[in-house]
């Protein structure tokens, strides 16, 4: 096992980490950057709990080696809210009751953000497709789907205001 230094920008902040070939991006985010909002549900890309946005795309951070991510820009759940308040997607999830146990929530919200960043007014089939890499065992997804629609509406309002 060798050690390598990698550079990551996480939520706009630059980091340098020392990693081995075995470390995953998730390990770095949780253990080295101390950002424990991102969760591990399965460890092999089958549940989406570890979803973060890397270079504008939703990815499963448990199945990306830290070395692969060298030089990337990463957004995690901790990057969404600001001193002025929660992000509209977070607000929508809360208001619509889309959060139960909350373990899938950070991943769901990051998949939602990746979708809405690229497609601000998605259709229902597009929402259903974009969030189908994330398992939720509690909600039956109904309120999650409503939350994504509500978030899109909120973001539209925000962009009209600004």
């Amino acid at each position: 096992m060798e050690h390598y230094s990698i550079h990551l920008t996480i939520n706009g902040k630059k980091y340098t980490f020392f990693v081995t070939e075995e470390d995953t991006l998730l390990d770095v985010i949780r253990e080295k950057a101390g950002l424990t909002g991102t969760k591990q549900g399965c460890g092999c890309g089958q549940c989406g709990a570890c979803t973060v946005i890397m270079n504008q795309k939703a990815v499963n951070s448990c199945c990306i080696l830290a070395l692969q991510a060298d030089g990337s820009e990463v957004e995690t759940i901790e990057g969404l809210d600001s001193p002025s308040g929660l992000h509209p997607i977070q607000e929508a999830y809360i208001e619509k009751g889309a959060i139960q146990c909350g373990f899938c929530t950070p991943g769901m919200i990051m998949s939602t953000k990746a979708l809405l960043d690229q497609n601000p007014q998605p259709s229902r089939p597009e929402i259903r497709e974009a969030l189908s890499g994330n398992i939720c065992r509690c909600t039956g997804y109904t309120k999650i789907e409503e939350a994504v629609q509500a978030a899109a509406a909120k973001l539209k309002e925000v962009s009209h205001e600004s």
Partner: protein, 316 residues
């Protein structure tokens, strides 16, 4: 050991592929590393080489670099226009997160899968080693002299119908092969623990005749994450009644449905039901089924009938 060359030259110099593993998206490889069937002691990451990441029009057709991600392939408007079945296949692979980073090269060079192989070292510890893990038996078919694991790549049949060529380096020499032949070489090797020195550069897709229709149809139990129960890809040139049909996830490699193509060419069938029956019989004769988790052999065989949806799209 981890290397991340920035140019083709650097890659070709750096790589002694006998001992090193090529890493692109890692969505197939990393879970195998975690399951203890692959190791990460020596990795060459090819995702920073510009040539391998491009989609470009050449005078011989469209070139798709091996490290192009499935999502950028699915979203590319030129590919969607020229090769809609490939675009759809890329967009139907795995989940959005996996498509974001998984590559077309990795999708084609993915390991064949089997419920005895895609398990943790702990799970497998109560059984003897199989062909794919260095042993001399196939748990699916103990009488079989070779591994019977299935090849599930969704993009493979779509590349096949367009007559794509694989462009690759073997022992340092740049070569091309029809993609099906390339896949057959890969999957034969992939039933063992030997590995050839192959470096895939990308795929060259010949220009298609304008009125040609093409389609891809994936049948899976869930709309995402799942590997296919079965998938089909086809092209159809109405004027010439000329077609090219493939079915996948039924054997070591995608199977071409030549008899069904002939039936279409000679119009020797009465209606869609009859054509479907011809295709089902042909897939049956070409398939080498194994037990897959959560899918009974009966349901798998019945799934062949879904080729009618491909026909509906091609002829509709």
């Amino acid at each position: 050991m981890y290397k991340r060359p920035k140019t083709m030259e650097e890659l070709l110099q750096a790589s002694s592929l006998k001992t090193e593993t090529i890493l692109a998206g890692g969505t197939d490889l990393v879970p195998l590393i975690k399951n203890g069937v692959k190791n990460c002691s020596s990795l060459i990451d090819i995702t920073q080489i510009p040539e391998l990441k491009k989609i470009e029009k050449t005078d011989k057709g469209w070139f798709i670099g091996t490290a192009v991600t499935l999502s950028s392939l699915a979203e590319n408007p030129d590919i969607r226009q020229a090769y809609p079945a490939l675009s759809k296949a890329a967009g139907k692979t795995a989940s959005p997160q996996i498509r974001s980073i998984g590559t077309i090269g990795g999708n084609i060079l993915q390991d064949r899968r089997c419920m005895y192989f895609n398990q943790s070292a702990y799970w497998r510890s109560s059984l003897p080693l199989c062909f794919k893990t260095g042993g001399s038996v196939c748990h699916q078919a103990p009488a079989s002299p070779v591994c019977r694991a299935i090849y599930y790549s969704d993009t493979a049949p779509a590349l096949c119908i367009y007559g794509a060529l694989a462009v690759f380096y073997e022992n340092g020499c740049r070569q091309t092969l029809p993609v099906l032949d390339f896949i057959k070489h890969h999957t034969a090797e992939n039933g063992t623990v030997r590995y050839k020195e192959i470096l895939l550069e990308g795929f060259l897709l010949p220009f298609q005749e304008v009125p040609m229709k093409s389609a891809f149809e994936k049948v899976s139990i869930r709309n995402s994450i799942d590997f296919p129960v079965i998938h089909f890809a086809g092209t159809y040139l109405p004027a010439a009644k000329q077609s090219c049909l493939y079915a996948g996830a039924v054997s070591h490699y995608p199977v071409r449905l030549v008899k069904t193509e002939e039936a279409i060419a000679s119009s020797s069938f009465a209606g869609l039901d009859a054509l479907t029956e011809i295709a089902v019989q042909e897939i049956r004769s070409l398939s080498q089924l194994i037990k897959e988790p959560g899918i009974s052999p009966k349901i798998k065989r019945e799934s062949f009938k879904n080729i009618r949806f491909l026909f509906e799209e091609l002829f509709g």
